[in-house]
C-alpha cells in the first residue's frame, strides 16, 4: 500500500528535509560525488577556510585550505576539521543518512567517526579541494539571486514536510 502510494504520488518526498544547524564552524557540508565534503572555518584566521572530505566506502580523507595548503592536523588520522565536518553533517542530515552514504554503522557522530577511525583510512590527495570550494561558492551565490512575486506553479510539486529524519 505504502509503496503503491509512493509510486503513484506526484508529491512523494524524495529528499528528507535538512535540519537547521549553526553555521559558524562549518558553513557548508554536503553528501555528494561519493564523499562527505564541506568547508570548515579556521579557528584562528577569519580569512581562511579548510576544504575537508571523507570518501564513502574506504573513508579516504583530505583536508587543505582553500589556497591548497595542506592541513597540519591531517597526518595519518582525521584532523579536527574533519571531525567537525562529520558532526555537523550528522546535525544537518541525521546519523542514519550520513552513515548510509559513507557506508558506516553508527548511531551518532562520535560512533560514526570512531568506526571510520578504526579502519585507519588512507589520506588522499587534495584534488577534490578546488571543486568542493567552487560548490561552496555556488551555494553562497544563491543568496544573491533576486526574489520574484510572479507565481511559480511548479513549486506545487515541492510541499514541505514535517517528517523528522
Amino acid at each position: 500500500m505504502l509503496s503503491e502510494h509512493r509510486e503513484r504520488s506526484s508529491t512523494a518526498r524524495v529528499i528528507p528535509p535538512a535540519r537547521p544547524r549553526k553555521l559558524a564552524k562549518v558553513p557548508f557540508v554536503e553528501l555528494a560525488d561519493g564523499r562527505l565534503q564541506g568547508v570548515v572555518s579556521s579557528g584562528s584566521d577569519v580569512e581562511r577556510v579548510y576544504v575537508s572530505s571523507v570518501a564513502a566506502g574506504n573513508y579516504e580523507f583530505a583536508c587543505s585550505t582553500n589556497n591548497n595548503r595542506p592541513c597540519g592536523g591531517a597526518y595519518g588520522a582525521f584532523c579536527k576539521h574533519i571531525r567537525s565536518l562529520i558532526s555537523e553533517a550528522v546535525v544537518q542530515y541525521g546519523a542514519e543518512r550520513v552513515g548510509r552514504y559513507l557506508k558506516v554503522d553508527g548511531e551518532d557522530a562520535q560512533s560514526i567517526t570512531a568506526a571510520m577511525d578504526l579502519t585507519s583510512p588512507a589520506q588522499g590527495g587534495n584534488t577534490a579541494a578546488a571543486p568542493v570550494f567552487s560548490r561552496f561558492l555556488h551555494h553562497l551565490a544563491y543568496l544573491e539571486l533576486a526574489p520574484t512575486t510572479a507565481p511559480l506553479p511548479e513549486m506545487q510539486w515541492f510541499p514541505p514536510t514535517r517528517a523528522v529524519v
Partner: protein, 455 residues
C-alpha cells in the same frame, strides 16, 4: 461542503491514469531501448485530439529507440494533456462539492520568446535523461544540468524552469545510481520531466498579467512550498473588487532561490521584505489594492507600492462570509494537472483525528505533513479543532485537505491557529527562538559570501 462527492468514483479516471502509469514505466527503463507498450497506449489515448499525428509519430520513433527532442516534447505534451483531463474531471467534482462557481476561462497568451539557447540546452539534457531512464541515472547524466541551471537562475524570465530543474536535479543526484534504487517515484519524476520539457518551449512559461485589481483583499491563509534551494509562500485570499463586481479567489506569491541551510523561519525572513501582505497575515489584517496587476488565472503579481494596510480582518469570518460568494479562478490549459489543485475550503462540524476529518459520515484525509514547521499550527491542534480553513488537494487517487488555519480550544478558550502566523514575524517564544537561529545562519552565510565571492 459535500464530502460524499469527493469519495465517489470519477468516470474515466482510472483509465486515464492507467495510460499515464504505462508511459511512466517506460521512463523507468529509459527510452534508449524502451518498453514500447506504454508509448503506444499514450498515442492511442490522444488519438482523437489535435495532438494525434505528432504523438503517433513520436511513439513510433521512441519505440524504435530513435526519438529526437521534438518527439520527446510531443510525448510530454500528450502526457500533460491526459493529466489535464484528469485535472478537469477532479475540478468539476470539487465545484460540485463546494457549490462555488468558476470564473472566466483564461485566454491563450502567447509568451515571450527569449533565451532560446538556454531553453535548447535544457531540452537537450532532458532528452538525455529520458534516454537514460530513472534506472540508468548516474552522476554524469545528472550533473549535465548544472551549468544550464546556474545560467537560467540568473534570468528572471526563466525562473519557473530553473527552479523546477534545480529541485528535480537535487532529487536525482540524491538517488544516484538509479540502478540501486529501491523504489522509483515514477509518477513524480515523470511529472517533473514532462513539465520541464514543456517549459523548454519558448513562451510556455510566460505569465503576463491581463488586468489590474483594485479593491479589498481578505487573506485566508498561507501555503508554503520548498525544495533544498528554493522556497515560495503563496497567500490564498478573497478579493472584493471596488466596483462591486463578484468577489473572487486570488493568490499572491513570493518566491526566492536559497542556500539549502536556510530553512524554517529563515524562509520567512528571506520572503518577508518583498511582500507586505505577509505582515498583514501575521497581524490579521486586510489590504487595499490599487491597480495591482493580476493574471487571468487569479495570480496577483504583487508590488508593495500598489497595496496598503487595511482594516483588521479575521480569516475565519472571511471563510464563513466571503468565501462562499467568491468565484474560483480557472487554471490555464498548460498548467492543468491534479497536483495544481489547491482549492480553499472552509470546514466545520466534523469530528477529527490527526489524519482524518469525518464530515456527515464521510472521511476526508487531512494532510498535516504540508503544514510548515515554522509556524504555530501543529497536527495536535488540527486533531483538536472544530473548524478549519484548508486547501482541497488531490494526490495518489484521493482528495485530502491541507489545513491553513484551525479554530480550536486552548485552556478552555477558543483560539484560531494559523499555519502562516509567523510569516510577518512573531513574538511567540518558540518562534522568536527559530527567528534568532535563522538570522544567525543567514548573517554567517552573507559574511562568508562577502569575503569569498567577489575575489
Amino acid at each position: 461542503m459535500r464530502a460524499d462527492l469527493l469519495v465517489e468514483t470519477v468516470a474515466g479516471l482510472d483509465e486515464a491514469l492507467g495510460v499515464v502509469d504505462a508511459f511512466d514505466r517506460a521512463l523507468v527503463a529509459g527510452l534508449l531501448r524502451p518498453q514500447a507498450d506504454g508509448l503506444f497506449e499514450l498515442a492511442d489515448a490522444v488519438a482523437g485530439t489535435p495532438l494525434a499525428a505528432r504523438v503517433a509519430e513520436a511513439a513510433e520513433k521512441a519505440a524504435a529507440g530513435a526519438a529526437g527532442e521534438e518527439h520527446f516534447v510531443a510525448l510530454a505534451a500528450a502526457r500533460t494533456a491526459l493529466l489535464g483531463s484528469v485535472h478537469d474531471a477532479l475540478v468539476l467534482r470539487v465545484e460540485e462539492a463546494t457549490g462555488r462557481a468558476r470564473g472566466e476561462e483564461p485566454p491563450q497568451v502567447v509568451g515571450d520568446r527569449s533565451a532560446v539557447n538556454l531553453l535548447a540546452a535544457a531540452r537537450s539534457w532532458l532528452a538525455d535523461l529520458a534516454r537514460s531512464g530513472w534506472r540508468g541515472i548516474d552522476h554524469d547524466v545528472v550533473s549535465g544540468a548544472d551549468q544550464v541551471i546556474s545560467a537560467m537562475l540568473k534570468e528572471p524570465g526563466l525562473r519557473r524552469l530553473a527552479t523546477l530543474l534545480d529541485g528535480f536535479v537535487a532529487e536525482l543526484a540524491a538517488s544516484c545510481p538509479g540502478a540501486s534504487l529501491d523504489r522509483v517515484p515514477e509518477r513524480r519524476w515523470a511529472d517533473l520531466w514532462s513539465r520541464a520539457m514543456l517549459l523548454t518551449q519558448p513562451g510556455a512559461a510566460d505569465v503576463s498579467p491581463t488586468a489590474t485589481a483594485t479593491g479589498r483583499l481578505l487573506p485566508l491563509g498561507v501555503d508554503v512550498h520548498e525544495h533544498p534551494t528554493a522556497a515560495q509562500a503563496q497567500v490564498h485570499a478573497v478579493f472584493e473588487p471596488e466596483d462591486g463586481s463578484t468577489p473572487r479567489l486570488v493568490r499572491a506569491s513570493v518566491s526566492v532561490p536559497k542556500p539549502d541551510t536556510i530553512l524554517g523561519a529563515g524562509i520567512w525572513q528571506l520572503l518577508r521584505p518583498h511582500m507586505s501582505l505577509l505582515a498583514a497575515i501575521s497581524e490579521g489584517r486586510s489590504m487595499t489594492l490599487t491597480q495591482m496587476p493580476i493574471t487571468a488565472e487569479g495570480d496577483l503579481i504583487w508590488n508593495d507600492e500598489q497595496a496598503r494596510q487595511g482594516e483588521p480582518a479575521d480569516a475565519f469570518t472571511t471563510a464563513r462570509v466571503a468565501l462562499p460568494t467568491a468565484t474560483t479562478p480557472v487554471t490555464a490549459a498548460l498548467d492543468r494537472h491534479p497536483a495544481r489543485i489547491a482549492v480553499p475550503v472552509f470546514l466545520e462540524g466534523y469530528s477529527s483525528t490527526k489524519d482524518t476529518f469525518t464530515l456527515a459520515g464521510q472521511n476526508l484525509a487531512v494532510d498535516t505533513d504540508r503544514v510548515p514547521v515554522a509556524g504555530p499550527l501543529t497536527p495536535e491542534a488540527v486533531a483538536a479543532s472544530s473548524a478549519c480553513i484548508g486547501l482541497l488537494r488531490w494526490d495518489a487517487g484521493v482528495f485530502s485537505v491541507q489545513p491553513l488555519a484551525v479554530e480550536t480550544t486552548v485552556r478552555k478558550k477558543a483560539v484560531a491557529v494559523h499555519a502562516g502566523a509567523w510569516a510577518g514575524g512573531t513574538t511567540d517564544k518558540a518562534g522568536a527562538k527559530a527567528e534568532k537561529a535563522a538570522t544567525d545562519a543567514a548573517a554567517l552565510l552573507r559574511e562568508r559570501a562577502g569575503r569569498l565571492l567577489r575575489r
